[in-house]
């Protein structure tokens, strides 16, 4: 193997300095220590770690978990409170329900509270679906939520349609019952819908803010009573019940996804987060501020309208703020993250360049010296970058035999390259020890923890006699080519690391003078691709039969057949008996 002349640390290296190179845990009679390939630990490199600003955008995970738990508890409290209301503890209140607008006047309390029950069921179903994997529950929860929200919106439209009456006539009465039901329905449906879509948390929270603000108005009305805001809700007892439920659920949805919504945005250290932290409270307090001034204005008949306008303006501003803040923050974060990633990549490249260069040099080796009567040729074209999962080797051993191995590890980059080199060397060393190609392949076992898969083809040649043995582990066929012959050779055997009990066929044959064995990886030719009924390996065989020659020409012909800009590595190995 090779030695490193200076410490290196890759971008993949952990903060502790431990390098996870994913080296194969190959269990064979042969020992190969991964630490020989790359130092296991490299001290003194921590200062080059680049912090990602994006990591600061979320809130503390522990706090997030606690807030989420609190959110669930609050939502559960809302459900419990709703159930108490449904059980009739507040039922006597409905004895004096004022008549609503004509459209909803016929709607009895039973119908209204059935819808409340629907909302509660939706909320419960939603909470259950978060912990349940049952698809039916999720669908049921969503359907209930949509039904609830639709009803709530229907009432809102009616409510707003009749709002002008309030402003135009000081004696008009609005249906507090309808208002209460609406708030409950929206307050319960919105959190459920929000909880289903991670990407819409912010929008959902703004929706919850709407419910929250309306509840605030109702509370103000309850506190003030007649003659100001309370005029909107002549039966404050009902509204308070509904408000409590809606307020709790709205608060619950704020907390249930703290890391994805406005809390996360507000906790952002960037400019957008500061903006929200400084102006958000002002926006939230705006209704109360306006009410304070409105109360001191003699024309108090307009107070109700002002309260609603204030809430509406506050919400619009808040929504705009949230959108702007998010855009500002995300842009800043993305820019900073990109810069950090670029810096990391630069450092990584600088550190790894010598290693990668050295790896590329040892991926394909030919160590045959002067071998009378034989010639070899190797060609390699990487799929992307400079190192990949193909490795090949041709070696002459002390007993005079030639060992040839071509290995293709699935994947790309430094790790597969190291793994391919290891497997190739293990195979060649097994041949050197006297194992047949099939036995050598069978010696390589896998470790279950590794997600590695490889194809390989191995040959053992006796130069004096021309006898050849071939074993294959799920590799594309080799080609036996000569002036009069072009046959595909495909010994049976599964991919390496697939099954520890795999068995491999050991195919024996003779090479006559002028004949060659051609090995190639699937980046060169794939059995899946065909033309005019001939697979790519068969087409190459035809080509070599017609135009083949010495080893170098044969290798060039095969590589010339392959895609010049491959996505996968291309390796060609030719061993030819010249005379």
């Amino acid at each position: 193997m090779f030695a490193l002349d200076r410490p290196v640390r890759s971008p993949l290296q952990s903060a502790s300095g431990t390098r996870h190179i994913g080296v194969l845990n190959i269990v064979t009679g042969l020992t190969l220590n991964p630490a020989e390939v790359v130092p296991a630990t490299v001290p003194g490199q921590m200062s080059q770690e680049v912090a990602a600003p994006g990591a600061q955008t979320g809130i503390d995970p522990g706090l997030e978990a606690r807030l989420a738990s609190l959110g669930r508890l609050i939502r559960l409290a809302a459900v419990v409170f709703s159930m108490i209301a449904l059980l009739g503890l507040v039922f006597p209140v409905f004895a004096n329900i004022p008549p609503g607008p004509a459209v909803v006047r016929d709607m009895t309390p039973a119908v209204g509270f059935s819808l409340v029950a629907l909302s509660v069921a939706a909320l419960l179903a939603g909470d259950i679906q978060r912990s349940s994997r049952d698809l039916a529950w999720r669908r049921a929860g969503l359907v209930l939520a949509v039904l609830s929200a639709a009803f709530g919106l229907y009432i809102v439209i009616i409510f707003l349609g009749n709002l002008s009456d309030v402003w135009l006539s000081a004696d008009a009465e609005l249906p507090s019952f309808s208002v209460g039901v609406t708030l409950v329905v929206l307050g319960l449906a919105i959190p459920l819908i929000v909880s289903r879509f991670e990407s819409r948390v912010l929008a959902g929270q703004v929706g919850a803010m709407l419910v929250f603000s309306l509840t605030g108005v109702i509370f103000l009305g309850y506190l003030y009573g007649d003659p100001s805001v309370g005029r909107l809700f002549l039966e404050p007892e009902i509204s308070v019940q509904a408000s409590l439920i809606a307020l709790l659920t709205a608060l619950g949805v704020f907390l249930i996804r703290p890391a994805s919504g406005m809390l996360s945005t507000a906790s952002n250290p960037g400019a957008g987060g500061k903006l929200l932290r400084r102006f958000g409270p002002v926006v939230l307090l705006m209704p109360a501020i306006l009410l304070f001034f409105a109360e001191n204005i003699p024309s108090s008949d307009r107070v109700d309208a002002l309260a609603f306008i204030a809430v509406g303006l506050g919400l619009v501003l808040l929504i705009l703020l949230a959108v702007v803040v998010r855009a500002i923050d995300q842009t800043a974060i993305e820019a900073a993250t990109s810069a950090a990633e670029a810096e990391r990549a630069r450092i990584g490249l600088e550190q790894e360049a010598p290693v990668v260069s050295r790896l590329a040099e040892v991926l394909h080796i030919v160590d045959v010296g002067e071998l009378a009567g034989w010639e070899t040729a190797t060609r390699f074209r990487p799929g992307a970058g400079s190192v990949a999962g193909d490795a090949s080797g041709i070696r002459v051993f002390p007993d005079g035999r030639i060992g040839v191995a071509l290995v293709d590890i699935t994947g790309h980059g430094a790790d597969p390259a190291i793994q391919a080199i290891q497997v190739r060397d293990l195979l060649l060393h097994s041949i050197r020890l006297g194992l047949t190609p099939a036995e050598a392949l069978g010696q390589i076992h896998w470790h279950a923890a590794e997600e590695v898969l490889a194809s390989a083809i191995v040959m053992r040649l006796v130069p004096q006699s021309g006898s050849v043995e071939v074993g294959s582990a799920g590799h594309p066929p080799a080609i036996h080519v000569g002036p009069q012959i072009a046959d595909l050779i495909s010994p049976e055997g599964p991919l390496l690391f697939l099954d520890p009990n795999s068995r491999y066929e050991n195919l024996e044959m003779e090479l006559a003078p002028g004949e060659a064995i051609v090995l190639f990886s699937d980046g060169v030719a794939d059995v899946q691709r065909s033309m005019n009924g001939r697979t790519e390996p068969e087409i190459i065989a035809d080509l070599l039969l017609a135009e083949g020659g010495v080893a170098a020409r044969t290798a060039d012909l095969v590589l010339g057949f392959a895609d010049a800009e491959p996505s996968d590595d291309q390796t060609v190995v030719v061993v030819r008996r010249s005379h």
Binding site: R133, L453, A473, G474, P494, L495, D499, V527, Q528, D568
Partner: protein, 111 residues
């Protein structure tokens, strides 16, 4: 380089089918792996990846299927590949994974 399309459908007994259309290679295998990860994270009893509408699969796709088979097996859930004939079937034969994976001709053969 074209992408892949994965059409999901539910089978009986909680099994899910992925009908994969397009070429599965280094550029597209991530989509397949992500989809498989989603199924692993959910509660389906098993998954059958139907490759009868796929035109090509390279070794990265093969690896994704083998690793998925191991993970489903470790989770005590079912995993199968549906392929009847054609280029991908040749790859499965050549690579020798037919003995390791549960290979059926179509997703209808699961039960």
């Amino acid at each position: 380089m074209s992408g892949i399309v994965i059409e999901r459908s539910q089978l009986n007994d909680g099994w899910l089918t992925f009908e994969v259309k397009g070429e599965i290679d280094l550029a597209t295998v991530g989509d397949l792996e992500s989809a498989i990860d989603e199924v692993l994270a959910n509660g389906e009893q098993g998954l059958v990846v139907d490759l009868n509408s796929s035109s090509f699969m390279d070794s990265t796709g093969l690896k994704a299927l083998v690793m998925a088979d191991r993970r489903f097996g470790e989770a005590g859930r079912g995993f199968a590949v549906a392929i009847s004939s054609g280029p991908i079937s040749r790859l499965i034969d050549l690579s020798g994974v037919r003995g390791s994976l549960r290979v059926v001709e179509s997703s209808a053969d699961i039960h």
